[in-house]
Symmetry: C2
Subunit: 141 residues, 2 copies
DNA sequence: CCCTTACCGATAAAAGTTCTCAATAGCATG
DNA sequence: CATGCTATTGAGAACTTTTATCGGTAAGGG
């Protein structure tokens, strides 16, 4: 299992450590696009001796190797995403949870690139709103 | 000048101070969507005694009153935008500058809301790429 | 001109992230 | 399986970005 992950790490001359695997599993297990601290707290029960610095270090490495993605929705927080397929996001402005939106349009990039002549490497689309849970609690706004 | 700004502040029981006006002018003058520190450095020559805390305080208040907007592109940095009209952004992944993209589609929200049944209050679209300046310097990638 | 209080500057504190370093452990090699 | 090289770890310091605290100041209404 996780053959792709292990192969990719080996190829990049990265070692397969328990901490690194657990950090990856931590992000993958939490489908809510967790922050570094949330990953730390998810991994800690299984690996009580792990350091927060190790979590940050491995999140950084896994992103460098293209095994995780970063997203920026809130102020001052970096969130991590194990879903590498092209997709958009929905950010609940009340509970701050981020969920995937399974749609994507490469046409948006092509159209923008054609209009401006700029070199485009990607685009992020994020919807803001209230999730169904939060809509029940505060029907205001 | 700045009649709308002054009226809006008065209406909200906010005082018109030199610092507050200069912070607003600082964001407006820098069309690059500056960070709080960049605003501070832009204002300092005109108001050498201003404190960084005052810049943060007023950016926060101006956003609360709907006179500025926040955007989140980089890791851990909040940028400010004086352009209140609906528009998208282009983020250069090399020099980190953010520029406006004068297009917007409310249809995207309607379509998403219809598909998912979720309550949408807005959406952000950001393109990543290399600006023309950076493309000259590093034609790689 | 005076009074109330929102605001200011300075600084400490909090939150998020990265750096430093000695000790450890992957893993290639034999 | 034993050995050696070095990437990685844990702990804590340091750094960056943002917010809170507080005594003094000044905006603006009366
Ligand atoms: Zn919610
Ligand atoms: Zn996602
Ligand atoms: Zn650039
Ligand atoms: Zn803008």
């Amino acid at each position: 299992m996780q053959a792709v992950l292990v192969d990719q790490l080996r190829k990049a001359n990265r070692r397969i450590t328990v901490q690194r695997m657990q950090v990856f599993e931590g992000v993958k297990g939490l489908d809510s696009h967790p922050s570094a601290l949330e990953v730390f707290e998810a991994v800690k029960p299984r690996l009580p001796s792990i350091s927060l610095a190790t979590v940050y270090r491995n999140l950084h490495i896994l992103r460098l190797e293209g095994l995780l993605r970063e997203i920026h929705c809130d102020r001052g927080i970096t969130r991590f995403d194990s879903n590498l397929s092209e997709h958009y996001h929905f950010h609940c402005t009340s509970c701050q949870r981020v969920s995937d939106v399974p749609s994507y349009s490469r046409e948006i990039e092509r159209s923008f690139s054609e209009k401006t002549g700029l070199h485009i490497s990607g685009h992020h689309l994020t919807f803001q709103g209230l999730c169904n849970d939060c809509l029940k609690v505060e029907p205001s706004r």
